[in-house]
């Protein structure tokens, strides 16, 4: 999880280290738009070889929600 947060922080310049927590609602922490969605999808695909769909992002609220999705898909 710590690693995942570091990876997100590395991708988003506006995000100051330490602000993002597992329980953070990602739509509130940084300006959420379609470009940021693509950046997150690209990072997750590169680092974990997991695909996040538009639906996944709509249903997820917190950083932890996304992380759990990645974990379930890796273990499959």
């Amino acid at each position: 999880m710590e690693e995942f947060i570091k990876q997100i922080e590395a991708e988003f310049d506006d995000l100051k280290p330490g602000i993002l927590k597992p329980e953070s609602h990602f739509r509130e922490v940084f300006e959420w738009n379609s470009i940021n969605a693509l950046i997150l999808i690209a990072m997750v695909k590169t680092e974990y070889d997991v695909t996040l769909t538009a639906d996944d992002l709509i249903k997820s609220k917190t950083v932890n929600d996304i992380y759990s999705l990645i974990e379930t898909r890796i273990s499959k």
Partner: protein, 351 residues
């Protein structure tokens, strides 16, 4: 599997023409300054060439053909095949290639037709032309690929308007029994046809007065049914899922390694997607040229435009083995490996 090699086709030259008229995404006031900066940084489009109303793809292609034919010193009477690949034709009827045959002064013995494809169109057009050259009925061919995409995007749609630019390109091909084979891996998944679509104006949804009504789709996204709509996340995920395996299959089947390839030219869809695939393939940045910053997503013409704009010296002065990869509307995608040896590349033309 549409995995095949065609021998006997030499790529003799490539040329491209863009409109002189330039639009900068820093001036795109429909979105905030911060959004503009994020768009330029991540999607990678800073400026785009926009054709004035009434200028067609075929106008740009014909402009690009003239210096190429001069440099090659080709006799037009010997050109017996003209393939025009575009989704922005001059008229609904007739075929644009017929008009171009006459305007370019090509002989009546010339076979001319259109192929209606977008992002992946260069590879499809190249495979059709190379197949006809391999059949040895034809000795010289022109492949024209381009689009005026800016005509069909809505200014008030931030998901499409700042992405696209216009271009017309020409590739000169000729029969040469000693030419190295061109290898292809072409694929299709029509179940994703809605991911990139202009809904109205064809036979499925005939144009009505309602086709012109603007609708709010989302925040910052207003368009009519005659505008291009794109499901960005779906197209993005399709590309990340399909393109790298497609390339690896082509490399495995030909026994060519990525180390032997001089440059990998990707369809210029967006910087983020190309960078992600570049990392997946472990390619160094210097092997992957970009034209998207200056020209945007130029649809089917993006491969030849990137070659003319970014590999100009290499193509003119050295032998090159190139891996070309294109993907998008259809959904349709593919890759090809071509070898060139000091070909004709006129300076990028502005019209």
């Amino acid at each position: 599997m549409a995995l095949f090699s065609l021998s006997g086709t030499k790529v003799s030259g490539i040329s491209a023409a863009v409109p002189r008229n330039l639009e900068s995404n820093m001036d795109y006031r429909w979105i905030t300054k911060k959004e503009r900066e994020s768009l330029i940084k991540n999607i990678g489009v800073e400026t785009r060439r926009v054709a004035p109303k009434g200028v067609t793809t075929s106008d740009l292609c014909i402009a690009a053909a003239e210096p190429l034919l001069r440099e090659l010193n080709w006799d037009r009477r010997e050109i017996e095949l003209l393939v025009f690949v575009s989704q922005s034709r001059d008229y609904l009827v007739p075929t644009t290639a017929c008009i171009v045959q006459d305007r370019l002064g090509l002989p009546h013995s010339c076979l001319a037709f259109d192929i209606g494809m977008g992002c992946s169109g260069y590879l499809y057009g190249l495979s059709v032309a190379a197949g006809m050259l391999q059949a040895r009925a034809i000795r010289k061919a022109l492949l024209m690929v381009g689009d005026i995409s800016t005509l069909t995007t809505s200014y008030r749609d931030k998901s499409t308007y700042p992405l696209f630019g216009d271009v017309g390109t020409v590739t000169a091909l000729e029969y040469d029994p000693d030419a190295p084979a061109i290898h292809f891996n072409l694929q299709t998944d029509g179940s994703g046809y809605r991911a990139l679509i202009i809904p109205d104006g064809g036979a499925r949804n005939i144009m009505t007065r309602k086709s012109f009504d603007f609708k709010k789709i989302d925040q910052g996204i207003y368009r009519t049914n005659l505008h291009l709509e794109m499901n960005g996340i779906e197209v993005f995920n399709f590309t990340l899922r399909e393109v790298v395996p497609n390339i690896k299959t082509l490399l495995n089947s030909t026994g060519i390694s990525l180390q032997e390839i001089d440059h990998v030219v990707f369809h210029q869809a967006n910087r983020l997607i190309i960078e992600t695939m570049r990392k997946m393939l472990k390619l160094p940045p210097e092997k992957v040229p970009y034209s998207i910053r200056e020209f945007g997503n130029t649809s089917g013409g993006s491969l030849p435009l990137t070659m003319v704009a970014k590999l100009y010296d290499q193509l003119r002065t050295e032998p090159q083995q190139l891996l070309l990869s294109a993907f998008g509307v259809g959904l349709s995608w593919g890759s090809a490996i071509i070898e060139t040896d000091r070909i004709a590349v006129p300076d990028l033309l502005e019209v």
